[in-house]
Symmetry: C2
Subunit: 406 residues, 2 copies
């Protein structure tokens, strides 16, 4: 334990931890976003042309905001890892780093001569994080992967959609981010272990494997039905075992209502002003509500059509049953609740103007909050890192630039 022990002063949890960040798109950058927001010194290393998200942001504006969101509080440098000088600079950066993270397909770093074995020799305390679609071993490891294809191969698509329609993807790239936070979690676990052993580890996360547990309910149905694959159920309960449980039309959009217990049902009736139906034999038990699921849903929807989403949300809080408005993204970006919590903020980005950016969802009370600094432009910190940290002269920097190394 160091000299700071037993003091109560606010600090950033990852103060003093240096991260060399080779990651791209969403998965890896989310892992290093969480590190930067916990106070680590993250150096984002991009090819001379920029990482794919940066290139896409130039082509179509759609990737600009994700790039700005996920790369705040990072330093940005360029480096061509295919040149021998580039490899040498990289090894110098690695020499006193704590963490390196990449989400290339398996084997890329080995072919560059910069794989785990090599870097571990240079710096035995280094933690090496690898994020991939299918992992570093096994017959499928060389299959290319993106969020959508893993939604397919993991089974997530097979349980999404209507019974009479095709399998559907979730519109959110949830597997990229789910595996990104797993990558963060695995690396920090190894960082904790290092305080005991003094040694770094190779940490590996596969997108497909992070998706598996999210289907716990659906897998439970397969088990219960003795190996029969359950059909898709749209917005109804996965096992068609609860009612009401659906997305209903409201006066001004849609609302989700879940009745998980008989107590919830009574509360729903109360918020309708229809307590008189609490003993009505058409609805009095979950069993009869499920047996006549369309009748139940129609009854609930006849009510929800008469109220607005926010009225419903208020009633559900007042009476105590789980329900929520289906919000669109403009409502979500402006959500008063998340803004009040300081978890969304309006930020003046030098390129994009005034945008909404999220804080880290990892809230550690008493720790110092990291103030948002805009995502770096391409190579913005070349001079600071190569000049300041590695001590290269202006002449050397110019030469490296001219040679296409940085």
């Amino acid at each position: 334990m160091n000299s700071a022990s037993q003091t109560n002063a606010a600090s950033k949890p990852l103060d003093g931890i240096t991260v060399i960040d080779l990651t791209q798109i969403y998965q890896g950058p989310y892992a290093t976003f969480l590190m930067a927001k916990a106070g680590a010194n993250v150096i984002k290393v991009e090819p001379i042309m920029g990482e794919p998200s940066r290139i896409r942001a130039k082509v179509s504006g759609g990737a600009s905001l994700p790039m700005a969101m996920l790369n705040v509080n990072k330093k940005g440098i360029t480096l061509n890892l295919k040149t021998s000088k580039g490899k040498e600079l990289f090894k110098r950066l690695i020499a006193d780093a704590d963490i390196v993270v990449e989400n290339f397909t398996p084997g890329v770093m080995d072919r560059l001569g910069l794989g785990w074995e090599v870097l571990h020799q240079i710096n035995p305390r280094l933690i090496y994080g690898s994020g991939t679609g299918y992992g570093l071993s096994g017959p499928d490891k060389d299959n290319q992967a993106m969020d959508v294809t893993i939604q397919a191969s993991s089974g997530a698509m097979s349980v999404t959609g209507d019974p009479d329609g095709p399998p559907l993807r979730s519109g959110s790239s949830f597997i990229d981010f789910l595996s990104g936070v797993h990558l963060y979690a695995g690396i920090i676990t190894a960082l904790f272990e290092r305080t005991r052993t003094g040694l770094g580890r190779l940490v590996e996360v596969s997108m497909q494997e992070t998706a598996y547990p999210t289907m716990a309910s659906n897998l439970g149905l397969v088990y219960r039905s003795k190996g029969k694959v359950p059909q898709r159920v749209g917005n109804r309960h996965g096992g068609l075992a609860l009612a009401p449980y659906n997305v209903y039309e409201a006066k001004d959009g849609h609302i989700a209502i879940v009745c998980a217990t008989e107590d919830h049902w009574v509360k729903i009736l109360k918020s309708m002003g229809r307590e008189d139906l609490a003993t009505d034999e058409r609805f009095s038990t979950n069993k009869v509500r499920v047996e006549n699921i369309k009748r139940t849903d129609d009854f609930v929807e006849a009510w929800t059509r008469t109220i607005t989403r926010s009225e419903l949300f208020k009633l559900s809080k007042e009476f105590g049953f789980p329900a929520a408005p289906v919000r669109d993204l403009i409502e979500v970006m402006n959500d008063p609740h998340m803004h009040a919590r300081g978890q969304l903020e309006w930020f003046d980005d030098p390129d994009l103007g005034r945008v909404v950016l999220p804080a880290s969802p990892l809230i550690i009370h008493g720790a110092e909050r990291v103030k948002t600094v805009a995502s770096p432009s391409l190579g913005q910190h070349n001079e600071e890192i190569y000049g300041g940290k590695l001590g290269l002269s202006q002449t050397e920097l110019q030469a490296l630039k001219a040679e296409g190394v940085i």
Copy 2:
């Protein structure tokens, strides 16, 4: 650094860490599953009747497998926290624990007299993890939440589904698990910080806030379209900016294909044996393929209908473009790849028989793997923990049982 420093011996990263686990259903139990699988000593504390998942497992079999999956490698005890003797026993457990985790609605622990302030007084090194729907502060904190309602309120539903259909939920409970791994990540970050400060923290994770970043692409479109909410796109690219990008019918089901670059298009044509079309003006650029998106999709589907999902998966690996079969859950449970990696295993559960269980997606090379031990039955380790750890006599145990305390 302790005496184990600089040794290379395999160990479990969280060896010696004790977790008092009050969590229920999916979110919290997934966080403590990751802890147990990393070597922590997790003591699952349940009400006398069992946690909701256990009760549901008894009523319908559907929750049996999730309960068995997520609670492996934990000790199980019962404890009635509403009794004063129960509170006292709980405080004794807390006194030498490292971590306590709960996912009750905000305020429950405070009302029991067992909130952060109280427990922090008893054990200043304790890390307290709280998982909730909307967080511990802000106007929506008291709204009840479940995975489905947060899919609604977070905006995830608004981007899922067909353009002419209603908003749809993802069939996987991805927000429960996404927030569960964030909860793990926040707690382990605080555990690392504690090696420097000697002090525990209150760590907070809100489901809604973990869902926000997963919509990066969709939020990027809102930004680009100057605040217009984009329509749902089914299985097509969120921005309708890439083609082919869809789920197509195959000979034996469906397959997802993503063409993210012009290079991918050439590779898709090669795998069709139609390289001759590489310069065909109907398809030669992403721009024309998107402008005639139905023509492009029809052309691709005319091919995919002639091959099986596994043929497509093989071709995509051979030629190098992102594609994958839409697998059903029986295929996923039996996936040879995940079984070959040791990430899925056949396990003889004392209650359920032979079932498939997942390992932790956090793979730390060189660390000792935790061998699976079945999920505890209700109160299975009461004697071991209350008798062994806290030193209560058989007579005292009997009395506590008779009084409804354990």
